[in-house]
């Protein structure tokens, strides 16, 4: 009867009856897709438990990321954001699922499609958006922009394709060296997967048993080149050759979470690196300067949106298992929208960095130095 009522009143403006939290199922078991594995005797579990609180948190986080990216799209079209802007909408389940499986004390590094990870790693929407608009309140004080955001145990935000992979293994080396049981999640895309330095890194990570989880976010396209046109083998989870791999449905936050837990356990047990391929999709083009339809069809984008959207999937799961009400989720949407609006307001009104800041932060822990300006009489000051 409750289920019927909720369907009947879906979309109703007024809540007919106030439902207490006791009305909801606190946790439910879900069947998730089995992962293909490589060089592993067993893979991640296919039956997983999600609690109501977890579901609400994943929903809120994914919705926040989604709305944040869409707002960035808007601001970019208004020319308030400039330069490169690589949006993450469609791929939310990856960032949220991974973070659900690791601790904030672990480490993470990714490439330039990084706004979502900056958020899951602890950056605020306000500081992320103000960085995109190049203001002094930005997470990197306006010095970095879209591709260079950092926070504790989050090493960016890296602009050179593939360069972040050796860096991530280096972070993992530091974890092992310091004996702190932390690990590093090291992300790259299907395009980067063909970079030579990644294979150099696989070799050293395996040789030295570094606690690194390599994750290939395969969204089907490296810029405008589909995976079939770029890679002799599109089984990215097997490309580590001597590193075990798992291929995961990257649109399902529970799949990603379960696989990430599996990978984290593997790493922390001292067995060395492991590789995860997350099959995911980006709704936007490669960046804001790419409409994203010259190398793929609008029908394809629409099909993914209607059949595999990560937020819709989670929402359907929660509603059909009586873990939340439509109203409750709508309320979250409203709160998220407000948070994004407030952040955008800040990001568009906060002043740009002061010119005095131009030459600062070249060095760390360094006495002040003089920096040559554009002409010999322009002597600028740099402090750490």
């Amino acid at each position: 009867v409750r289920k019927l009522l909720s369907i009947v009143f879906k979309g109703a403006a007024a809540v007919v009856s106030a439902r207490t939290y006791a009305d909801f199922t606190n946790e439910a078991t879900f069947e998730i897709k089995k992962c293909d594995t490589f060089k592993l005797d067993e893979g991640p579990a296919t039956q997983v438990v999600m609690t109501r609180d977890e579901g609400l948190q994943y929903y809120r986080t994914m919705q926040t990321m989604r709305r944040m990216e869409l707002k960035a799209d808007q601001l970019y079209k208004q020319k308030i954001i400039r330069g490169f802007c690589h949006l993450y909408d469609g791929q939310e389940a990856c960032a949220v699922g991974i973070e659900a499986a690791i601790n904030l004390s672990d480490h993470l590094i990714t490439a330039y499609r990084a706004h979502g990870y900056t958020y899951t790693r602890g950056g605020t929407v306000k500081k992320i958006m103000a960085e995109l608009t190049g203001r002094r309140g930005g997470i990197a004080k306006g010095k970095g922009g879209s591709m260079h955001m950092y926070c504790k145990h989050f090493y960016g935000g890296n602009g050179i394709v593939g360069a972040q992979v050796p860096l991530g293994a280096g972070v993992a080396l530091a974890c092992k060296y310091q004996g702190n049981s932390e690990l590093c999640v090291c992300l790259y895309g299907d395009g980067a997967a063909n970079q030579g330095q990644i294979f150099e890194t696989y070799n050293m990570a395996a040789l030295w048993k570094l606690p690194v989880i390599f994750i290939c976010e395969n969204n089907g396209y490296g810029m405008g080149t589909s995976v079939e046109r770029a890679a002799a083998s599109t089984d990215y989870f097997k490309r580590g050759e001597f590193i075990p791999g798992v291929r995961v449905d990257g649109m399902d936050v529970l799949c990603v979470r379960e696989a990430s837990r599996f990978a984290a356990d593997y790493c922390r047990s001292g067995k060395g690196p492991i590789l995860m391929e997350l099959q995911t999709y980006r709704y936007h083009g490669h960046s804001m300067s790419d409409p994203g339809v010259s190398y793929r069809t609008r029908e394809e984008i629409q099909e993914v949106r209607s059949k595999s959207d990560p937020i819709s999937m989670l929402k359907d799961r929660m509603l059909s298992n009586n873990m939340a009400s439509v109203e409750e989720l709508k309320e979250i949407d409203v709160e998220v929208r407000k948070e994004i609006e407030d952040a955008a307001q800040f990001a568009t009104t906060d002043p740009e960095p002061p010119l005095e800041d131009l030459c600062n932060h070249i060095f760390h822990n360094n006495p002040p130095l003089e920096v040559r300006g554009t002409n010999p009489w322009s002597k600028l000051k740099s402090v750490s």
Partner: protein, 347 residues
């Protein structure tokens, strides 16, 4: 008498004990001392551990510190340089050795884009305390692909410090400072200098001896002309100065020690005294260290003190040939420096 002997013994103990130490051993000492002082310091590179270093610079370190702190890498410059930078970002203090800086070209993206620029891009949030070291410039008979000088390439980039020691004191003091620096340092050694012994004062032999980065040293005072150089050619300049002194020309020889940030003030102070300047380097002339010195002198207070344009003595603008006679004529010789000094002084 016993009293006299006691007095003599005490007096002798007060005499400073200078020692002859090769550049190789000085570098080795520097790394040994810093590895001991700070457990976050470690060395990685090709052949640094079990081989004792391709040029034996890290001899004995693996035996003393083991696999955790002295790491042999596969031949993967881009990979291991990136790993070193990542380790620095996460709190360690790596020394990343390039067997020669020629191979650093494989990894130069990690040095520039991942190491040098990160502190700035992150507005000071993310420091990268790393030292990239190894032999730079010409060796002997190793031909074109193994003989390039990278001083100008690295010194071009903000966010890096670029150091180029000459003698053993320089090597030890500057390497220790570089390792203690919280920023990326490119430390350019010279293979031909590794085996050369230099006197090291007792002070320089101590565990806390450091030389500040960014300060040049006047190796020889003079009044007629200033010679500015770095690395191996400081020695050539001093040799040229000795010959010229016999003809009554007194050269002031400045050892840059650091290429970036360059101690232009020391050069200017000298030029204001001598009114003539010759730069000497092993690298190619175009867009090089000497070119930068010329530009800086022109822009600064010392320009009005010049009695003639600055002269640059450089390597010949060609890839390095193999045959000895050709190689010898590809690099500045003492007679080239003497010739250039006389031309600059118009004598």
């Amino acid at each position: 008498s016993p009293l006299f002997h006691k007095f003599l013994k005490e007096a002798l103990n007060k005499v400073p004990k200078d020692k002859c130490v090769t550049v190789r051993d000085a570098l080795n000492q520097a790394m040994d001392e810093e590895l001991e002082r700070d457990e976050r310091v470690f060395l990685l590179g090709e052949e640094v551990a079990q081989y004792d270093g391709a040029y034996k610079v890290s001899r004995g370190l693996w035996k003393k510190y083991g696999d955790k702190r002295i790491i042999d890498t596969p031949i993967s410059e881009m990979g291991f340089a990136g790993i070193a930078v990542g380790a620095a970002m996460a709190g360690l203090r790596p020394i990343c050795e390039f067997m020669t800086f020629n191979f650093s070209m494989q990894a130069i993206d990690q040095v520039i884009n991942s190491a040098a620029k990160t502190c700035y891009m992150s507005a000071g949030l993310q420091a990268v305390p790393i030292v990239f070291r190894g032999p730079n410039g010409a060796s002997a008979g190793v031909a074109a692909q193994h003989s390039q000088c990278f001083a100008a390439w690295y010194a071009h980039c903000p966010g890096l410090k670029v150091v180029s020691p000459w003698n053993s004191e320089d090597a030890k003091g500057l390497l220790k400072s570089s390792i203690r620096d919280d920023n990326p340092v490119v430390f350019l050694e010279n293979e031909l200098l590794y085996g050369v012994p230099f006197e090291m004062s007792e002070e320089a032999q101590s565990k806390d001896f450091t030389i500040p980065i960014g300060k040049a040293k006047v190796e020889r005072a003079g009044s007629h002309i200033t010679l500015v150089s770095h690395s191996r050619y400081v020695g050539h300049c001093l040799d040229a100065a000795a010959v010229l002194a016999k003809e009554g020309i007194e050269c002031e020889v400045i050892n840059l020690r650091t290429i970036r940030p360059m101690d232009v003030e020391s050069i200017e102070a000298s030029v204001m005294k001598t009114n003539h300047l010759v730069t000497v380097e092993g690298g190619w002339p175009q867009f090089g260290v000497g070119a930068e010195i010329c530009a800086r002198i022109m822009e600064g207070s010392a320009f009005n003190y010049l009695d003639s344009p600055v002269t640059r003595v450089t390597g010949v603008d060609i890839p390095m040939p193999y045959a000895k006679i050709l190689e010898d004529h590809s690099l500045p010789q003492i007679k080239d420096i003497i010739f250039s000094v006389k031309k600059t002084l118009n004598v």
